[in-house]
């Protein structure tokens, strides 16, 4: 019964999304892209893929940034189209997806203003999916409390922000903490929301979000070594919706170096694998890439089931990964730095 009802509201969009997903570049495309000599070659090849004529109107000496912009533009148009067609609860779900971009934008803007960059320059770097009306006036605020009161109180991020309202001045450290607190709140809230949605959506999304939470926890821990972030503060930043919660997180809170983190991950089969295969030596993949790979895998699994919202999230994430891949390859091509060109993360 649920399945039939699903299609009433969301069947079209799911079909659309799966159609978009078929346009995701395949391994063969990457092989061809990697062989490109110049960015124009890449343009030529991308023409034969689902991207079609997206670069056709760009004058010839292409820049990587242009490619990046166009890729993102295309993705955003597709997503916005789906968002505009969506009805509740899918609409909220899709909105939830955009919140993470909002968080990133806010942090970007604050950091930018801290470094006295002109706001217009910063705005252009923001992700279009995460833009909101008050965004550009963000530099009015000088403390988190001000930020909250003046800017964010109207945005959907307001509930997430409650935890980090303080009268401290905004500095680098603070911003990081804000970002991670926001993320924690966001992830937990999203997780909660998916669970209220129930069904396949919950199954698929919770797994992805749990991984996301764990990844954040692990990365926060690893990155916090050697910084002034106290262990107590660190604990506050761990999202509690992952598999690591509660034992793993408690252990992480006590960790002092990378090896300990690795030791904690040993207890979790999926993460053990990631840690085992990673390394910074040439020929090995970095932990970050490993995480990305695992994320891609989870997202691809998202498409295995039908009648759930996870496909939208997965699609967006996969497409983002694809954009990163293309940009990576084009950077390598543009800089003639072919040694690392194969370090993209294949999707299909």
């Amino acid at each position: 019964m649920r399945f039939q009802e699903f299609n009433i509201d969301n069947g079209y969009l799911e079909g659309l999304c799966r159609g978009f997903k078929n346009g995701v570049l395949k391994q063969a495309d990457y092989i061809n892209l990697v062989q490109c000599e110049t960015l124009d070659d890449m343009k030529l090849h991308l023409q034969s893929t689902d991207y079609g004529q997206f670069l056709a109107n760009e004058p010839s000496p292409l820049a990587v940034s242009v490619i990046d912009d166009r890729l993102r533009e295309k993705l955003v148009i597709e997503f916005q189209h789906m968002r505009n067609q969506a009805v509740e609860p899918l609409a909220t779900f899709l909105d939830y997806i955009t919140y993470s971009y909002m968080i990133d934008n806010i942090i970007l803007l604050i950091t930018g203003t801290l470094h006295h960059r002109p706001i217009t320059e910063l705005i252009s770097k923001c992700h279009p999916l995460g833009s909101f009306e008050q965004m550009e006036a963000i530099h009015v605020a000088s403390t988190p409390a001000e930020l909250y009161n003046a800017v964010l109180v109207d945005t959907p991020l307001a509930p997430f922000f409650v935890d980090c309202i303080s009268e401290q001045d905004l500095d680098e450290m603070n911003i990081e903490i804000i970002r991670n607190t926001l993320y924690k709140a966001y992830l937990e809230s999203f997780y909660q929301y998916c669970q209220t949605l129930g069904g396949t959506t919950a199954e698929v999304m919770c797994e992805i979000l749990a991984f996301e939470a764990d990844r954040r926890a692990l990365i926060i821990t690893i990155n916090s070594f050697g910084t002034e972030l106290s262990k107590d503060d660190r604990v506050k930043l761990y999202p509690t919706c992952g598999r690591l919660h509660p034992d793993g997180l408690a252990a992480l809170a006590r960790a002092d170096d990378f090896e300990q983190v690795r030791g904690i991950a040993e207890y979790y089969a999926e993460y053990k694998e990631l840690f085992d295969g990673s390394g910074n030596n040439p020929g090995e993949k970095t932990l970050e890439d490993k995480f990305f790979e695992y994320e891609v895998k989870l997202n691809v699994y998202g498409f295995m089931q039908q009648f759930h919202f996870g496909v939208f999230y997965s699609y967006l994430k996969l497409k983002e990964q694809e954009c990163r891949n293309i940009v990576w390859i084009s950077e390598c091509v543009a800089q003639k730095h072919r040694a690392k060109i194969d370090n993209y993360i294949p999707i299909f």
Binding site: N32, Q35, E37, D41, L44, H45, A56, A137, H139, V140
Partner: protein
């Protein structure tokens, strides 16, 4: 074809004249050779073809061989009869023994004719009487009668076969000479001389002749390089038609030396046979060509080295084998019969038209041998010697020329035959068509056969074009121009051969194996990219032009593809235009921005003025006036100075802006805003935006920065606003003047821009076409492969065979244009791939072809139903849509489209429905016309009948009766009925429209004709299958498939139709005999059911007869039983045949393995790499596959016959629905309008008519038309085409600019 059918016979005469001259000239230096003549004849008949030296030698050797065999046979005969004189009869007998059947007869008759005419021409005055006698004598009778009575001629004839079948020039020269010596006046003298000459020749060739042979053979192998062919080639053949260079084949040479043709030993005469290879390519002396062709030529040459045929054995076994197994050589494995020269096969094949195997020469393949052909020929033997030259091939033609060589001029004109042409085609096509067909069929051997009529009458739509895969060698410089020409022509479909490997000396295409080769690794990627760039610029231009609403001039002209160097000019031009435009745009953008700012400022000044005025009204005159003034005074007596900023913001952002301000400044600011009524233009995007003016009052600097930040955040533009009214006024005036200035400047920029764009608009379409052409050319060139030397490009393309010359012409044009010296080479390739299907259509037939193609593109060269669809489709449609009025509407609409074709096509309307209608305008026209016809047959014009000829019924009813009794039943009885005994001349009598029994009457009629037309339609489909079977060489399928099918159909449903006709004609109302009255007419349906179930009523009605004719029961039983019995034939016939063929093939294969390499070589000749296993490709049809396939086919057919026949009832059903619906419309709508009698009736009728017309068009014409169309389509696809049409081909998509131009605009 007409050109090819050039007279051979008449050419022979003057050729022979020339030949004689050359003979004399060269006798001393040159050995006797036929090659010159063979070549000349070939060139005359078919200038496009050439012949390898090797093949020429084969021809030559062949002549010698025949000659020596004849001579030795004749000598043996003389010995046998223990006579010492070699006479004509010996030679005749020898000819009969050696040459098979009709060929012998023909040879004899031709020889005697030639001798006769020789004599007449030689001794015209002296020997006229002789000549007449000779001519009057029937040729075949000549020797017998002549033997006794006219020794002169016999003796001459006796001498002739020797030169005739041996070295032409030498011997005829001999004869001539000897005749000259003797002056041929004294025949008796000459005759007496002969016997002394002949006997030694038999045992030991006389010195004279021996010289001839030596001359003949020795130089043949040594002076191979100076063959007359080459001389000719150099001398008088155009460059592109020169004969190929001789292959320096050492092996070949040695072989020839080892085996000089021994003229004497008759039984051991080995025929050194080889293939004659005609090539349709354009040979050149170019290196490229040699490189690429050597391989192929070698193959042909190797194939030519065939196993020498043991002629004696063949001739001995000839007669026994003849009739028994004519089909043996048709099997795929038939090649284990010793391969012989193609030429011989061909010649023989040409002599017999009725033979299924080699009906007209198009079926010859390398597998057929002389012996097998011989057999067949003897078996059929229908060619009469009265018309020999029509059927004789090259062999007899040689004879003629030899004979005429001796100077006769009164030879009967040889009828023009395309035999040589056909042969040439055969040689080139047979191999690939064989392969194609062996794949299509089920393991029979299938040489394609063109039924004779197809060859005679060009039937373009009957089958798809014959296609060939060609290799195209283009010099790099000329490639572009050549491809451009081909693009204009649109007749070649290029294949992607961009990556080739050289393997086993063969060019192997691996691009199919490796589709991952990405676009940019090809050669002309840069050019393509440049074109992309140009297109981008053009698109930019177009966008700008459209933005300014400048009409784009579409002249519809089609500029030629520009030269590559022109591309640079174009690029420069576009670059300049684009830059200019960008500059102008930048300027105007800056100006506009300026303008916008000023306008905004103007509005600010105006609006804020009102705010300040309000303040002034409230009593605060000075600029220090403050809103918080009272509070401030109260707070500390200190006058607070309020600052303010004024600016403009997008109207939709205002609420958020206001909220933000409030929050950020904790309510300490005061905002006033006013909307700007007029929309402002955004300078960047050019959109119209609505904005609001705001003014914010605040206190203190801290707030000021904060407010400014927020303004910045919300992209509000702030403008300095003077604080005093006077300054403001002043500023406003300044702004006004500046706006005016700006306006003029802006106007000028706009004008400039406009001028640029207008100029561009004139050419832009043209440019687009040009750039697209260049781009498509380079795309095509990217499909080509670069030769190893980088000097030439190799392409592979499918082209229609008939257009070879057109393509070559255009290639030549392209070469000329590019100024290249090396001509392109178009070389036919052998392939096992099935060629694409190409049906040449015109605007009329295209629509019908589309209908067929929508079901499935015809298998290559299969019977194309489109040609029949042209008539049958509108006809079946009209049976359902039969209403003259509605048909007229449809006709008028279609006619309008047809008449206004060009302007409508130029409009390029994109609406899908319109496109469909317009594409099918000719179909609609025919449908409309046929519907009018059917409407008159049904007598329906908008559901009303028309009484043109006066009804054949007379009904005596008063008006009162009519209105109240409704007894409008028509009785077709003479006595008390209404029928006048003269039928209504055309269609249905109009009175039926009023009759109460109209529906039953029409139903019976329409139902029956539906079935009749259905059965005819299906039967026609089944019959068309014959053409497919015959064409693909599946002759046995006619027997095991067609015959059972047609019997099943005719015996069941054909008989049903016959019953209908019997019922129609036999029973009538006024019959005297009661048994013939309608009451006694049996129901056809019941009869038919009874027939199938073997149920026959024994009790008849009173006065009636049970059966329609005597013997009905017996006949019906026989028919049913036969129909049932043919089903097993249909089911098992083909699989059993297949099994038999398989077994035979197996046997042959084991035999053939001893024969060594011949098979492998065959594969090579086909141009297929050795690695591909030829046999493997043919094997996969297992017996079970065939069985299952046939079972499905049978079930489908048998059940289908029943359901399909019933399916045709839709013709009746839809027709009934249509007429009923239109009648309802009449009764319920229009008639109501006609019933008002007062003046207002007219007014009401006006509206009612509108309703009626609208309903008629929408429901009856559109909806009913669509449904009838779809049903007709179904009847054609399912019921008709399933009987014969496989539709498993793929479409020919040529590289054509026209197509590219059509497609491209659609994409945008």
């Amino acid at each position: 074809m007409a050109r090819r059918k050039k007279s051979v016979g008449s050419n022979v005469k003057d050729l022979v004249g020339k030949a004689r001259e050359s003979t004399r000239r060269r006798r001393s230096q040159q050995p006797a050779k036929f090659s010159n003549y063979v070549f000349k004849v070939l060139k005359q008949v078919h200038p496009q073809l050439s012949m390898t030296n090797k093949a020429m030698k084969v021809m030559d050797d062949f002549m010698h061989d025949i000659y020596s065999r004849l001579v030795s046979e004749a000598a043996g005969l003389v010995k046998l009869t223990k006579r010492s004189t070699l006479s004509a009869s010996e030679f005749q007998t020898a000819t009969r023994l050696i040459l098979p059947g009709e060929l012998a007869k023909h040879a004899i008759s031709e020889a005697s004719k030639a001798v006769a005419s020789f004599l007449t021409s030689r001794n015209e005055d002296a020997k006229r009487s002789h000549a007449r006698r000779v001519i009057n004598n029937p040729p075949s009778m000549l020797p017998v009668t002549a033997n006794n009575e006219e020794p002169v001629e016999i003796e001459i004839f006796g001498t002739v076969p020797r030169p005739l079948l041996s070295n032409a020039r030498e011997v005829t020269g001999d004869v001539e000479e000897s005749m000259e010596e003797d002056e041929l006046e004294n025949d008796v003298e000459f005759a007496r001389k002969m016997p002394s000459k002949v006997p030694p020749m038999v045992k030991n060739p006389p010195t004279e002749n021996a010289n001839v042979y030596q001359n003949n053979i020795a130089p043949d192998s040594t002076t191979k390089r100076v063959l007359p062919i080459d001389n000719t080639a150099e001398r008088d053949v155009p460059v592109d038609l020169s004969i190929e260079e001789n292959i320096t084949d050492e092996e070949d040479g040695s072989r020839i030396q080892e085996e000089p043709h021994p003229p004497t030993p008759p039984t051991e005469a080995e025929s050194d046979t080889s293939t004659v290879a005609y090539e349709t390519s354009k040979p050149t002396e170019g290196e490229n060509r040699k490189n690429t062709h050597d391989g192929e030529k070698k193959k042909i040459a190797e194939e030519a080295e065939t196993v020498p045929m043991d002629e004696e054995a063949e001739t001995q076994s000839m007669n026994e084998e003849t009739e028994t197994e004519p089909m043996a050589s048709q099997s795929v494995s038939g090649r284990n019969v010793e391969p012989n020269t193609l030429l011989i096969v061909d010649v023989v094949g040409n002599t017999q038209e009725s033979s299924s195997m080699v009906s007209d020469g198009s079926t010859i393949s390398t597998q057929l041998t002389l012996s097998s052909n011989t057999r067949v020929q003897i078996g059929t033997g229908n060619g009469s010697s009265a018309e020999p030259s029509e059927t004789l091939g090259l062999l007899s033609r040689r004879n003629e020329s030899v004979m005429t060589d001796s100077g006769c001029s009164t030879l009967r004109d040889v009828p023009e035959t395309p035999s040589l042409t056909v042969r040439c085609q055969t040689l080139t096509t047979s191999r690939d068509s064989k392969q194609i067909d062996s794949r299509i069929g089920f393991g029979f051997f299938f040489g394609p056969k063109k039924p004779a009529f197809e060859q005679q009458f060009k039937m373009p739509l009957f089958r798809s074009e014959e296609m060939t895969l060609c290799q195209l060698f283009l010099q790099s410089e000329a490639a572009y121009a050549c491809v451009a020409e081909l693009g204009e022509l649109g007749l070649a479909q290029f294949r992607d051969v961009s990556i080739l490997l050289f393997k086993y000396g063969f060019v192997v295409t691996i691009s199919q194996l490796n589709p991952d080769v990405s676009a940019f690794q090809r050669k002309f990627v840069n050019e393509v990219r440049r074109c992309d760039e140009m297109e981008r610029k053009l698109r930019y231009l177009e966008k700008e032009i459209k933005r300014d609403d400048i009409p784009i001039l579409d002249t519809g002209e089609n500029p030629e593809a520009p030269q590559p160097r022109e591309m640079i000019d174009l690029e420069a031009a576009f670059e300049k235009l684009e830059n200019e435009l960008r500059e102008v745009n930048q300027n105007s953008e800056a100006l506009k921005k300026n303008f916008l700012e000023l306008t905004e400022l103007k509005h600010i000044l105006r609006k804020t003025q009102t705010f300040f005025d309000e303040m002034a009204e409230s009593g605060h005159e000075d600029e220090h006036a403050n809103l918080l003034g009272d509070d401030g005074l109260r707070a500390g007596g200190q006058v607070l100075k309020l600052g303010f900023v004024a600016g403009v913001i997008l109207r939709e952002r205002l609420p958020a802006f206001e909220r933000m301000l409030w929050r950020a400044c904790r309510g300490n600011v005061f905002l006033r805003q006013a909307e700007i009524d007029a929309a402002l233009e955004d300078p960047v995007t050019g959109d119209q935006v609505y904005k609001s003016v705001f003014i914010i009052f605040f206190q203190g600097d801290q707030l000021k920065t904060r407010v400014k930040k927020i303004c910045e955040g919300f992209r509000a533009t702030l403008y300095p606003c003077p604080e005093t009214p006077a300054e403001r006024r002043e500023m406003a005036i300044g702004v006004m003047t500046r706006i005016e200035d700006l306006n003029t400047v802006l106007g000028q920029t706009q004008d400039h821009r406009h001028r640029v764009l207008v100029a561009a608009a004139k050419n832009i379409k043209n440019w687009f076409v040009k750039v697209r052409k260049i781009k498509s050319i380079y795309h095509t060139l990217n499909l080509f492969n670069l030769d190893v030397t980088q000097k030439c490009l190799i392409a592979e393309c499918w082209i229609p065979v008939t257009d070879m010359e057109t393509i070559q012409m255009s290639l030549r044009r392209g070469t000329e244009r590019s100024g290249s010296s090396v001509p392109p080479i178009l070389n036919r390739m052998m392939t096992r791939e099935v060629p694409p299907t190409y049906n040449r259509t015109n605007k009329f037939t295209a629509g019908f072809q589309n209908l067929v193609d929508a079901y499935g593109v015809a298998t290559y060269r299969e019977v194309n139903p489109a040609s029949f669809t042209i008539i049958s489709f509108p006809f079946l449609f009209s049976m359902m849509f039969g209403d003259a009025g509605h048909g007229l509407l449809m006709t008028l609409f279609a006619l309008w489209m047809v008449v206004k074709e060009k302007p409508l096509a130029a409009k390029k309307i994109q609406s899908e429905i319109w496109v469909i209608c317009f594409a099918g305008r000719y179909i609609m026209l025919l449908m409309g016309l046929f519907s009018i016809y059917a409407g008159f047959i049904y007598n329906d014009v908008f559901s009303k009948g028309v009484n043109i000829f006066g009804s054949a019924y007379k009904v005596n009813l008063t008006e009162h009766e009519l209105q109240h009794h409704h007894s409008g039943m028509l009785v077709p009885n003479e006595v008390n009925g209404h029928y006048r005994q003269t039928p209504y001349p055309f269609g249905v009598d109009p009175i039926w429209m009023l009759a109460e029994n109209k529906i039953p009457y029409l139903n019976a009629y329409k139902m029956k004709i539906s079935i009749i037309f259905g059965v005819v339609h299906m039967g026609f489909g089944v019959i068309l299958g014959i053409w497919n079977h015959r064409f693909f060489g599946r002759n046995m399928n006619i027997l095991v498939e067609f015959v059972p099918q047609i019997i099943f159909l005719i015996f069941l449903f054909g008989y049903l139709c016959i019953l209908m006709f019997i019922k129609w004609t036999k029973y009538y109302a006024g019959a005297e005999d009661q048994a013939l009255t309608p009451g006694c007419a049996p129901s056809i349906l019941i009869t038919f059911i009874g027939m199938v179930l073997f149920k026959y009523d024994t009790v008849a009605l009173d006065g009636c007869e049970n059966y329609m004719y005597p013997g009905q029961v017996t006949l019906q039983k026989i028919m049913i039983i036969t129909a049932v019995l043919v089903v097993p034939i249909l089911l098992f016939g083909k699989p059993i045949l297949f099994k038999m063929e398989m077994n035979k093939a197996k046997n042959h294969a084991t035999l053939h393995n001893h024969n060594g390499t011949a098979e492998g070589e065959d594969v090579e000749v086909a141009g297929v790499p050795q690695t591909e296993n030829h046999e493997g490709g043919d094997e996969p049809h297992e017996f079970s596959d065939v069985m299952i396939h046939q079972a499905i086919h049978t079930i489908e057919y048998v059940l289908g016959s029943v359901s399909h026949t019933a399916s045709y009832l839709r013709l009746w059903a839809l027709s009934l629905a249509h007429s009923q619906l239109s009648e309802v419309l009449w009764l319920m709508v229009l008639r109501k309008g006609l019933m008002f009698q007062d003046w207002y009736g007219g007014v009401i009728l006006y509206f009612i008519f509108a309703a009626w017309a609208a309903l008629t068009v929408s429901i009856l014409v559109l909806m009913e038309g669509l449904s009838a169309f779809l049903h007709t389509l179904r009847l054609h696809w399912v019921e008709f085409q399933s009987k014969f049409y496989a539709g498993a081909g793929y479409l020919f998509v040529p590289f054509s600019f026209e197509n590219i131009m059509e497609v491209q605009p659609g994409e945008e």
